[in-house]
């Protein structure tokens, strides 16, 4: 066991910020939070699945947006600084209100809409559109890309990487009947043209998705999709 110094950004300025916790191996950042909760029961953080599927334990660790359940604590580290995600209102301590993120997501009309002629109904294994769709699936809506994006978190006038990535998976899908409408939606102010390709999102995604590439595809398709 090794002693680790942990500093946590708290909502209440009176609340304790500095802790020391004994950690063994293996220890994830989530384990540190669960241990500290027993020292200070008022500590607020969230998690659900522990296996990088729910995307609710996202926080900043030493400034980087990560999943607490997926981030090992390195023994011998100087210490940890834990902060809530940037670019979203803080509910309390490490819990943020993800409404801006989900509002942006909803605004691309992210639901699949079957084509009126229902052709094709399904995509074969070798259907060329599978590659594009699959490159954007498995997003867990964790918001790491939102925080990492210089535009989304900062000014909320950009739909952000995750929503545009979702739009790409639908626009790539030959089964979907709302392609034109969705391409118009993402071509508006705050859509694909606002991305400056700084690639913060792609570096931050814990699932290995490349939202910047998705946005590039979407921009290409939206040119000529008409307004």
């Amino acid at each position: 066991m090794t002693a680790l110094a942990v500093e946590i950004e708290r909502s209440d300025s009176e609340a304790r910020r500095h802790f020391t916790v004994e950690v063994g191996e293996p220890t994830m950042v989530l384990d540190v939070l669960l241990a500290l909760q027993r020292t200070d029961a008022s500590l607020a953080f969230r998690y659900s699945c522990r296996v990088a599927m729910c995307g609710t334990c996202t926080i900043r660790v030493d400034g980087r947006p990560v999943l607490a359940c997926r981030t090992p604590v390195l023994l011998g580290a100087d210490g940890l600084l834990l902060e809530p995600l940037a670019g979203l209102p803080v509910v309390r301590d490490l819990i943020v209100d993800t409404t801006p993120f989900s509002t942006a997501w909803r605004s691309v009309e992210p639901w699949f809409t079957p084509r009126a002629d229902a052709e094709p109904r399904v995509l074969a294994a070798d259907d060329p559109s599978r590659e594009a769709i699959e490159s954007g699936l498995d997003c867990i809506s964790c918001g790491a890309c939102w925080t990492a994006c210089d535009l989304a978190g900062a000014e909320h006038r950009f739909l952000g990487p995750a929503a545009l990535n979702r739009a790409m998976t639908l626009a790539a899908d030959a089964r979907d009947g709302a392609r034109d409408r969705r391409l118009r939606l993402v071509s508006q102010e705050g859509g694909v043209t606002r991305c400056h390709y700084i690639h913060g999102c792609s570096g931050a995604c814990p699932k290995g998705i490349d939202p910047a590439a998705s946005i590039r595809r979407l921009r290409r398709w939206s040119i000529g999709a008409g307004r």
Binding site: R50, T56, P72, R92, P110
Partner: protein, 577 residues
């Protein structure tokens, strides 16, 4: 302390759905499709569509779609796997509707399932099945299904109460269901929700074990509130342990499932001495035996001293070669590397892990219960899986019965008004929820939760005896006493420690019903193994144990013969009228 004397806010809705996993969201979509004018409210203790366990499904979804497969075959496998304790009408509904739901998920909601080069759905083999029928998207099937369902729910525009928990069902003075009490866990404000129909779809309670797989939210809230409201529960003793949960010291990663597909692909289990003990236990099926058999075999190795020092056995698939393991099980290999092991190149320590509750509320195939206006769907219900669930039948159950609940809700709503709840019920429910915040001098819930998990693991786990269960009964009674003194300091807004205190109440309620039912069943069947009654006894025990809350507030247990409406225990299909 706020909330006590000020009048509570009152919300109204046509359909209140508690839970936002596969069952809850399918219910919302099908209710909206059946009648777009309905107002639908989703009450979700965690993030909508991102809490609960449907999303964590790795393996897949069983449905009869392949050429040569038959509904009868899937049905027979489900009953064989369930050791004939199943409600056959529920199991038949599951099997019969699963293909239609797969088609809906793919063609209406856009799920991208794996297909073969010739365009057929790629159906993979799973434990206990006579035919390959498991639909999947790589090893992240649940994530694909839940992401698509979640996005469809945006389309219907249901009211989403995210981070709100349901507390209790409410009734009027004549006993008519009037809705529920709810708690906004972000603000800490309680409210009354009047609803014409309530659907309970919160998921199970396996988190009450020391080593456990489910998501944090799954603390038996739905079953506990139904029990308090007087509904009948069945098969509560049937709690499934998955054979291969990760062993990761004190990390919360302990208990998370390494999927069944590993054993299907040839992974071997060995004890500390290097013995492949499944050769002793089930020489024919080896590691591909059913979950109950493999889990108990591993457990026996561990408690008899042949496990690893950390309390596990060794799961090894490295003979496939690192590249092949990465290709097929990449997500799991990555997880093992977090803890200093590597599934791709060597053995990983695993332990049986509490996984799924077969028991739950008695329902009919339309999800109707004995209370008019109250529906139950998914893991909160009992009977579909009998004494053991097959891998791949879980996500099938949530989506099939969630859809049915939505249709039933729309069908019965015309006959239901809004009823004013008895004020005493509201007051008692809210008082119970706020009590830990108002007490002074007590301890937070953490130590009690730990003790509950230890009690259930040691005395009501994979191997049970009368003596151990009696100890569990005693320890649970003591924990119940101590839990009434739990106190949580700190604010009422976004306070996880307070929420855990409320979770503990649900867990203790459900734990007691599991222990009492396990005491009654003096035989071994599926997940329930009694070392003092090690054989299955169809003569005396082809019966479901049913429990409800008696007039004195204590559990009342009875048994009820299983009705063999379609398939006899010998495997003979019966003529259908």
């Amino acid at each position: 302390m706020p909330g006590a004397d000020a009048p509570l806010p009152v919300l109204e809705t046509d359909v209140a759905i508690i839970g936002s996993g596969g069952a809850g969201l399918m219910c919302a979509l099908h209710a909206a499709a059946a009648d777009p004018r309905l107002s639908i409210t989703i009450v979700s203790k965690g993030a909508v569509g991102r809490s609960g366990c449907t999303r964590m499904v790795q393996g897949g979804f069983n449905a009869v779609l392949g050429e040569g497969d038959s509904l009868e075959s899937h049905f027979r496998d489900t009953l064989e796997g369930g050791h004939y304790l199943n409600d056959q009408e529920l199991a038949w509904t599951l099997v019969n509707e699963a293909p239609r739901v797969i088609q809906e998920l793919e063609e209406q909601f856009g799920c991208l399932f794996d297909r073969t080069a010739t365009g057929e759905l790629d159906l993979k083999p799973f434990g206990g099945q006579s035919f390959d029928r498991t639909v999947h998207r790589a090893d992240q099937t649940g994530l694909e299904i839940m992401s698509r369902l979640r996005d469809q729910v945006f389309r219907i525009g249901a009211r989403e109460l995210e981070d709100w928990r349901a507390l209790d069902l409410l009734f009027d003075q004549h006993g008519e269901l009037s809705g529920l009490t709810v708690l906004d866990t972000r603000s800490g404000q309680a409210a009354v929700m009047l609803a014409r129909v309530v659907v309970v779809a919160t998921g199970g309670s396996a988190t009450m074990y020391r080593i456990a797989a489910p998501a944090r939210e799954k603390t038996g809230d739905g079953v506990a509130m139904c029990y308090r409201a007087g509904l009948e529960l069945r098969d509560m003793e049937m709690l499934q342990f998955h054979p291969t949960g990760l062993v990761a010291g004190t990390s919360a990663l302990t208990g998370t499932v390494l999927e069944e597909g590993l054993r299907g692909a040839g992974a071997q289990l060995r004890n500390r001495l290097g013995e492949r003990y499944m050769e002793r236990v089930d020489p024919e099926r080896l590691e591909r035996s059913t979950r109950d058999v493999v889990a108990r075999a591993s457990y026996t190795e561990i408690v008899e001293g042949r496990g690893t020092p950390a309390g596990g056995v060794l799961l090894d698939i490295s003979h496939l070669g690192a590249a092949e393991v990465e290709r097929r099980f990449g997500e799991m290999a990555a997880r093992t590397r977090l803890i200093g092991a590597d599934l791709a190149v060597g053995p990983v320590e695993v332990s049986p892990t509490a996984h799924f509750h077969m028991g739950g509320v008695v329902i009919d195939p339309d999800c109707l219960t004995s209370v008019h206006g109250l529906l139950v769907a998914g893991e909160d219900s009992g009977g579909t899986h009998g004494a053991n669930r097959l891998g791949g039948n879980g996500v099938a159950e949530s989506t099939v019965f969630g859809a049915r609940a939505g249709e039933t809700a729309a069908a019965i709503i015309g006959g239901r008004g809004l009823y004013m709840p008895e004020p005493e019920l509201v007051a008692a429910s809210v008082e119970r929820a706020y009590a830990p915040l108002r007490r002074e001098g007590g301890q937070p819930p953490f130590a009690l939760t730990d003790r509950l998990k230890d009690t259930m693991w040691v005395h009501c786990g994979l191997v049970r005896t009368r003596e151990g269960l009696l100890q569990a009964r005693e320890q649970l009674a003591e924990l119940a006493k101590e839990s009434s003194r739990v106190a949580v300091a700190g604010p009422r807004d976004a306070n996880p420690a307070w929420q855990q205190a409320i979770d503990l109440e649900s867990q203790l309620t459900v734990a007691r019903l599991i222990v009492e039912s396990a005491l009654v069943r003096e035989e071994s069947r599926g997940a329930h193994f009694r070392a003092d009654f090690p054989e299955r006894d169809d003569e005396s025990w082809l019966r479901a144990i049913v429990v409800e809350r008696g007039r004195d507030g204590e559990p009342e247990l009875t048994t009820r013969p299983v009705e063999l409406t379609r398939l006899a225990t010998g495997g003979r299909m019966l003529e259908q009228a």
